[in-house]
């Protein structure tokens, strides 16, 4: 586990669909608050609020570019995204592990396995 990312804060930050979508957007490249308002159809204050939560969770950070402050994924944030995919994988695995049992149970009663 990475100490730079507070897991509890990261999970809380990731629990919101808009924030996950913002992360997905930033995974493709940095963006300013103004650039994020259009695709998400939200006001700047609303976006800023989400960004603050993501920043506090250290999933994203900001770069200084003149008067602009483009946000980008923090390096630990990318690992958190990997973790997020790993969790989805786990949910799928759960389903397929159950399917393994269903398939095994269907085969067990006839040991020789009838051919179709």
């Amino acid at each position: 586990m990475h100490t730079s990312v507070n897991l509890d804060a990261a999970f809380t930050a990731l629990a919101d669909p808009t924030r996950r979508a913002i992360l997905a957007r930033l995974a493709k490249g940095e963006a300013t608050v103004a650039q994020l308002t259009t695709p998400f159809d939200m006001s700047q204050p609303a976006i800023s609020q989400h960004l603050k939560i993501l920043e506090d969770a250290r999933l994203i950070d900001r770069r200084v570019d003149g008067t602009k402050r483009p946000r980008r994924l923090a390096s630990g944030g990318i690992e958190a995204m990997d973790q997020w995919l790993a969790i989805l994988r786990k949910a799928l695995e759960k389903n397929y592990d159950r399917l393994d049992e269903v398939l095994a149970a269907a085969h067990q009663p006839k040991k020789r396995g009838e051919k179709r």
Partner: protein, 154 residues
């Protein structure tokens, strides 16, 4: 060791592969027979599928409803586009949260792989944003479990 792979492809695809010890006929049936689907397509522990409609023919309807028994419910609807026993299923589905999400187009292939089956599920979403939302929603349940696990650790 994990037998499952999950990867994104391009901007709009998600590809999942999984090997099963049973032949393609059995795995195909488990994906098309409602009585079988109800036994495994359940997501996280504690969830059941009280409603499972899969008309099992091209043009047929799909409706899966899940419940956690504590008031939380979730359902998807869809239509079957193509069925090729026992090798291919093509369908569209959408999640309802409760407003319908954009359609996912899903092609599931079953190929003999040794004595078992290699399943390849290729999902196509309308755009990258929808894909991100779909991946995120798919893990809600897993996340819930993670919270519980975290509570146990902290």
């Amino acid at each position: 060791m994990s037998k499952l792979t999950l990867k994104t492809e391009g901007d709009t695809h998600v590809v999942v592969t999984r090997h099963f010890a049973a032949p393609p006929e059995a795995v195909y049936r488990a994906h098309t027979d409602p009585a079988l689907i109800q036994t495994w397509l359940l997501g996280p522990d504690g969830w059941t599928m009280p409603v499972c409609i899969n008309e099992g023919k091209p043009g047929g309807k799909i409706r899966y409803e899940w419940s956690n028994g504590k008031g939380a419910k979730f359902h998807i609807t869809g239509e079957i586009l193509e069925l090729k026993p026992y090798s291919k299923i093509v369908h569209v589905e959408r999640m309802h949260l409760p407003a319908p999400m954009p359609d996912s187009h899903i092609e599931t292939r079953f190929e003999a792989d040794g004595a078992g089956t290699l399943m390849t599920m290729r999902m196509t979403l309308p755009d990258a944003k929808t894909r991100a939302a779909m991946l995120a929603t798919g893990m809600e349940g897993g996340m819930e479990m993670s919270y519980v696990r975290l509570e146990g650790i902290l």
